[in-house]
Subunit: 133 residues, 3 copies
């Protein structure tokens, strides 16, 4: 895609924002789907709801920020839909606030220990090959 | 833009790093501009200043890391400038360290609860339409 | 690249996930290479290892999440390789878990205080010019 890589080597960064109480299920769904290189961070967020406004001492404030967990994973393209399905399976309760998933382009990846690049840097060392199930 | 989407459906990820004491004003400015799907995280950072260096027991260290808040929002393209204006309005003090805004491409968005995609996933359920003011 | 910018003005967002005990060395290596606009956040993560699974009361869990630090920096393109080299120099121990580096496209940057855009917004105010060493 860039730098002369073949199309099949395209990579994406997938970021999900989910309920903290669902992180364990999301991790397990990802892991069972063959995705285990992931980064988590604690965030807080508000969904698209517009009407939740309060007047407190004259100040108009946006309320209802909730603790969420952000899960980030760099993937080769064939794994993107696999990851989305796993995240939804682990995170969905059916109630508002289940979260969002974002897919972004990713141009280069490096494994710091070895200097490996791109899809080679995304393949775990303990595996010889891994294809989407 | 990608996957056969129309140009008008392009989406962006806007990330701002601002002073913690300005987060409430930024939130309010965004909210008043019609943007309420946002994710916050605590970060620490250093701006471009080069000269702030200290020698402590012979070690050269980069000092002055300050607590900041990162505000992330996925937007359809017509809202990008709206968001930038709102963030600047809420965050600017005129002193060094007011922060930075980054705009990145965003290829796909999913609402986990419903499975809606892309711009449909960015439209709050409680609204039928929302156009930049 | 976008919006009529010249190719030489392309910008990238470089994100590294490294060991907490190596953050100071990474900062110093970046600083010495002329890169000082950076944002840090605490994250936790798991590398690509597949086999680390445990059964605890019948639940299959993915273990070994480790504290890591994420270092993010927006750069003009000529600095990308400079940054990668500096990060590797500061972060590499040779043991598994040294971390990953991700490079993503970046379309716009704003300095909130001045309203400067793109590469102008990436140049520290205290410097007139800065070229990769
Ligand atoms: N447009 C957005 N940009 C950035 N983060 C978002 C956006 N929308 C939601 N989020 C993040 O995802 C979290 C969960 O969002 P939420 O599930 O409420 O989305 P929603 O679109 O309101 O869907 P629902 O109608 O199911 O509540 C939010 O708390 C926020 O952290
Ligand atoms: N190039 C960059 N890459 C990543 N993060 C950055 C960059 N520049 C600044 N930041 C983040 O933004 C925060 C605020 O930066 P700051 O406002 O000091 O930027 P600046 O370019 O030095 O502008 P000013 O001259 O107004 O201080 C920093 O603490 C850091 O977290
Ligand atoms: N594919 C990935 N996507 C997102 N984050 C990742 C990915 N791979 C690794 N990380 C993050 O980087 C951290 C360090 O990863 P690590 O160095 O173990 O990578 P690795 O590919 O397993 O390399 P090594 O074989 O040297 O251990 C992880 O804890 C995680 O936070
Ligand atoms: Mg919601
Ligand atoms: Mg500064
Ligand atoms: Mg590893």
């Amino acid at each position: 895609m860039h730098f002369g890589r073949k199309k099949g080597d395209a990579m994406k960064l997938v970021t999900a924002v989910v309920r903290p109480e669902r992180v364990q299920q999301v991790k397990e769904a990802l892991f069972q789907a063959g995705i285990s290189g992931i980064t988590l961070s604690r965030v807080s967020g508000h969904g698209g709801e517009q009407e939740i406004v309060e007047h407190y001492r004259g100040t108009r404030v946006m309320v209802e920020f909730r603790d969420k967990v952000e899960i980030r994973m760099a993937l080769s393209e064939p794994f993107v839909q696999v990851a989305i399905d796993a995240i939804c399976k682990g995170a969905r309760t059916g109630e508002v606030g289940d979260g969002k998933i974002f897919v972004q382009p990713l141009e280069q990846v490096y494994r710091i220990r070895t200097g490996e690049r791109d899809t080679a840097a995304l393949t775990p060392v303990t595996e010889t090959k891994l294809t989407p199930v």
